[in-house]
């Protein structure tokens, strides 16, 4: 409990910074800052991007999950692997790929398209897991009651998918609130890009954090909505009988359509950025392969990703544990507080940690320790979401049984809890790894000096229009992300085959 409070407090440092800074802005100035047409425009843009992106991710994610899990689509295993693959492509690389090929994506529709392609796996993964675990009897009952396939899907399957859908969409929404790199390239101004602009143009921290407070409100709104819609979630429990795999919908003459849909998503989400990177590698005059630099950056990215993942998962564990085992207002509050910083732009969090660490632990400034804490603050929700689901798979009664069989607490954790939550821990760690290995702003500001990651190298090269020089770093970023992606695909596909 105490650990969870400490973790939540750490996660709230950026929020405190925003509140403190925003409070320093006078009421008159705050009014002027927040009450102007531009803010309305940004709010409208942010809301429609977040809502559009969440809806599109939900549709694409659930649609693909249904194709892979519930139809006789040929080569399903291959499609599953390919549909998870976009996780290995950082959003700003996807964006970069599209933008460097055509400027026509730099509209609202284009922005929704690109962020959907970058983020739909966050919905697809939990949807696949849920569909696999769903008792086919439910659907059969509904069919027996005279409902058509579509009606059954809408009235029976979709409600069951709700927790997966809501959890995944929430993550998408929070990311879209804070996403900067991808959206900036798409030239679609949102609150987050505006906050960067304010830091850039006025160098007025107060004004920028004032704007950030609007983002915090958006985040709270999202959290509350999710909580409202999630309702009383049913716990996963051991079935009273053996589960049957569901009958698959025969696609028949629709098979080519199904194949085309899956291929289309994969081509747009993975094909386009890959093509763009290869294109730049081949045609760019600045293309170079500084082997030592590439290796060093790769090593750093890998190590930071792994360490960040380990620490974040460890910190997330008590929060997730409380949220599942001791449901209540405090646990909910603690869990919710870890989400807030995900919706804040990287620069706000980084500056908050600069200020806080120099005041509290100056010796840790710009050390790995501080950088890793920053990652933990930024990416806690990814780990909490995965761990929460995993801990729900390990009901407390199993602990009781183990204790009655003469097992001590540590042994119980080793023999019962850990094996049960291992898949969840692994996917949480993989999600954090993916995020850390592509993180930019906090890395630029808080990493020990002279430490370069693939992401910072990519940024540095692409911001000087040296697309050819940037491409190898982006490709490597995709490559080191692949194992984590494969792991996520495996965990989601492996739930039922034990």
């Amino acid at each position: 409990m105490l650990t969870a409070v400490v973790v939540a407090a750490l996660a709230l440092v950026p929020l405190g910074f925003v509140a403190y800074d925003a409070a320093a802005v006078g009421p008159r100035e705050a009014y002027d800052l927040l009450w102007r047409p531009r803010i309305g425009e940004l709010l409208w843009n942010t809301v429609r991007l977040v809502v559009g992106g969440m809806l599109a991710c939900a549709v694409v994610g659930v649609g693909c999950a249904w194709l892979v899990e519930r139809t006789d689509l040929p080569l399903r295993r291959l499609w599953h692997a390919l549909l998870v693959a976009p996780l290995a492509v950082p959003a700003f690389v996807t964006s970069f790929g599209w933008v460097s090929l055509t400027s026509s994506v730099q509209t609202y529709a284009g922005a929704v398209l690109v962020v959907t392609l970058a983020y739909y796996p966050l919905v697809y993964l939990p949807a696949v897991v849920t569909l696999r675990g769903l008792d086919p009897a439910l659907e059969e009952t509904a069919q027996a009651l005279g409902h058509g396939r579509l009606a059954v899907f809408v009235r029976v399957v979709l409600p069951q998918l709700r927790p997966a859908l809501l959890g995944g969409s929430l993550l998408v929404g929070l990311h879209l609130l804070a996403e900067f790199g991808a959206i900036q390239m798409l030239r679609f101004p949102t609150f987050t890009t505006a906050i960067y602009d304010q830091y850039r143009s006025t160098f007025n921290g107060g004004a920028a954090t004032m704007t950030a407070s609007v983002l915090v409100l958006c985040c709270l709104l999202l959290l509350l909505t999710e909580l409202r819609l999630r309702g009383r979630r049913r716990y996963a429990r051991l079935s009273a009988g053996s589960a049957r795999p569901a009958d698959r919908q025969r696609l028949g003459r629709w098979t080519p359509v199904g194949l085309l849909a899956a291929a289309g998503v994969v081509a747009l989400a993975v094909g386009v950025p890959t093509y763009a990177l290869v294109h730049w590698l081949v045609v760019g005059s600045s293309t170079a392969f500084p082997v030592a630099d590439l290796l060093a950056a790769t090593g750093t990215s890998l190590a930071l990703g792994a360490a960040g993942a380990a620490i974040t998962v460890v910190l997330a564990a008590p929060v997730a544990w409380l949220a599942v085992r001791h449901r209540g207002r405090l646990a909910g509050l603690l869990e919710g507080s870890t989400y807030v910083s995900t919706s804040l732009p990287g620069i706000v969090i980084a500056l908050a940690l600069v200020t806080a660490s120099l005041r509290v632990v100056p010796d840790l400034y710009q050390t790995y320790a501080l950088l890793l804490s920053a990652y933990a603050v930024l990416f806690l929700p990814r780990a909490v979401v995965s761990l929460r689901a995993a801990i729900e798979q390990a009901p407390p009664v199993l602990d009781d049984v183990a204790r009655s069989l003469g097992t001590g607490p540590l042994e119980t954790i080793r023999r019962v809890t850990l094996p049960l939550i291992a898949p969840g821990v692994a996917s949480g760690a993989a999600l954090v790894f993916l995020a850390v290995s592509t993180e930019l702003t906090a890395t630029l500001m808080l990493a020990p000096i002279d430490v370069a990651t693939l992401a910072t190298r990519f940024w540095s090269a692409s911001s000087s229009v040296a697309y050819g020089a940037a491409a190898p770093y982006a490709l490597l970023m995709v490559l080191i992300s692949l194992p984590a992606t494969v792991l996520l695909g495996r965990v989601s596909a492996g739930g039922g085959d034990r």
């Binding site: 429990r237 051991l238 079935s239 009273a240 009988g241 053996s242 589960a243 798979q393 009901p395 009664v397 199993l398 009781d400 049984v401 183990a402 204790r403 009655s404 069989l405 003469g406 097992t407 001590g408 023999r415 019962v416 094996p419 049960l420 034990r498």
Partner: protein, 356 residues
């Protein structure tokens, strides 16, 4: 062989006294049911015995050794008590053999051959094929999962096994057969069993002693037959088996009620009752005869409806003299009267009476 003794055990959650001053002795090798409606505290009591909860007051002794008293609590893992939770709760990541062997210590746990032998022995005991050893929990039916859960609890040879509503998630047919198999296995293993249930049939048919709980208190602990014949009060009577409860006037070992003059069970307390009492009859004590008029004793009643169960039928009746007096009778299934029929009601055997 162990005796489990509870003395004045109490346990509260906030202002709620979940278990209130319960004393109970469970003789060695017997099976005792903790029976009561949901929320009566029976599961809390079980968890106190298991060591998952500490009592606020009172003590729990196993074989003369106090394992729980305020401030002195042997942890669950050191009590040597087997535990079978609701729905079995098998470890989903382990196969059947590993589940059963989970609690094995010492040689039985370490040696591969010993372990395989012990697992086989336990599968035999719970009447499952040995080939099940390599199955995963989700490949078993609910009843099979329960048997594995019992085998797992019995593996370390505990003296006491606690079963927390183990059959509640099974369908009726499976419930009866699984229940019998589980109790048979308990007896074969020589273990003392405590079974939490809200199903009175289960309690009466499977166990040696039934402890009825209500609102945290132990109302009555008795052998099934005794409990059924002489419930401690009308509520216990209603809860354990169907009951016909009538106001009556008692005098000298007999009582007069709407059904006429009825003998009281010939025990000291009832025989001594005088005056206004509550009379409790079992539905099968009412004998129904098609009849237009009451000839010798008995009362006339009209059949309201009939629940047909094949082997028997439950008949709801209203007295002709006083339609407010409703009766419940159990008759032979094939000879049950039709709804609307008029019957004579006779009482067979003695009734229990409780002061009003």
């Amino acid at each position: 062989m162990t005796t489990l003794v509870l003395e004045h055990v109490s346990r509260s959650f906030g202002p709620v006294r979940a278990v209130d001053d319960v004393s109970l002795a469970v003789p060695p090798g017997s099976v005792t049911a903790l029976l009561g409606p949901s929320g009566c505290g029976k599961t809390t009591l079980l968890r106190v015995i298991a060591g998952f909860l500490e009592p606020d007051a009172g003590s729990v002794a196993l074989d003369g050794r106090v394992v729980a008293a305020p401030g002195r609590c042997v942890p669950a893992r050191d009590r040597g008590i087997g535990y079978v939770p609701q729905e079995g709760a098998l470890f989903p990541h382990l196969d059947v053999a590993a589940n059963i062997a989970f609690g094995l210590r010492g040689r039985a746990g370490r040696g591969r051959r010993e372990r395989v032998a012990r697992v086989a022995e336990l599968l035999d005991l719970v009447e499952l094929p040995r080939t099940f050893a390599e199955r995963a929990p989700h490949e078993l039916s609910g009843g099979q999962q329960q048997r594995v859960a019992l085998a797992r609890a019995l593996a370390p040879a505990p003296s006491v096994v606690l079963l927390d509503e183990p059959f509640s998630s099974l369908d009726a047919a499976l419930r009866a057969s699984t229940g019998e198999a589980v109790v048979a296995a308990l007896r074969a293993a020589g273990a003392t069993g405590v079974l939490v249930t809200h199903d009175q049939d289960e309690a009466l048919s499977l166990t040696d002693q039934v402890a009825v709980m209500r609102a945290g208190r132990l109302v009555q602990a008795a052998a099934p037959r005794e409990l059924y014949a002489r419930p401690a009060d009308a509520d216990v009577a209603r809860f354990v088996g169907g009951a016909v409860v009538l106001p009556a006037r008692a005098r000298a070992g007999r009582a007069t009620c709407a059904l006429g003059d009825v003998a009281l069970v010939s025990e000291a307390d009832e025989a001594a009752l005088e005056g206004e009492v509550t009379l409790v009859l079992r539905p099968e004590q009412l004998r129904l005869t098609p009849e237009r008029a009451a000839t010798h004793g008995g009362a006339l009643a009209r059949v309201i409806d009939v629940g047909f169960h094949g082997h028997d039928a439950t008949v709801r009746l209203a007295l002709l003299d006083d339609a407010d007096v409703r009766l419940l009778a159990r008759t032979d299934g094939l000879t049950a009267p039709e709804p609307g029929a008029q019957v004579r009601v006779d009482v067979v055997g003695p009734a229990s009476a409780h002061p009003r």
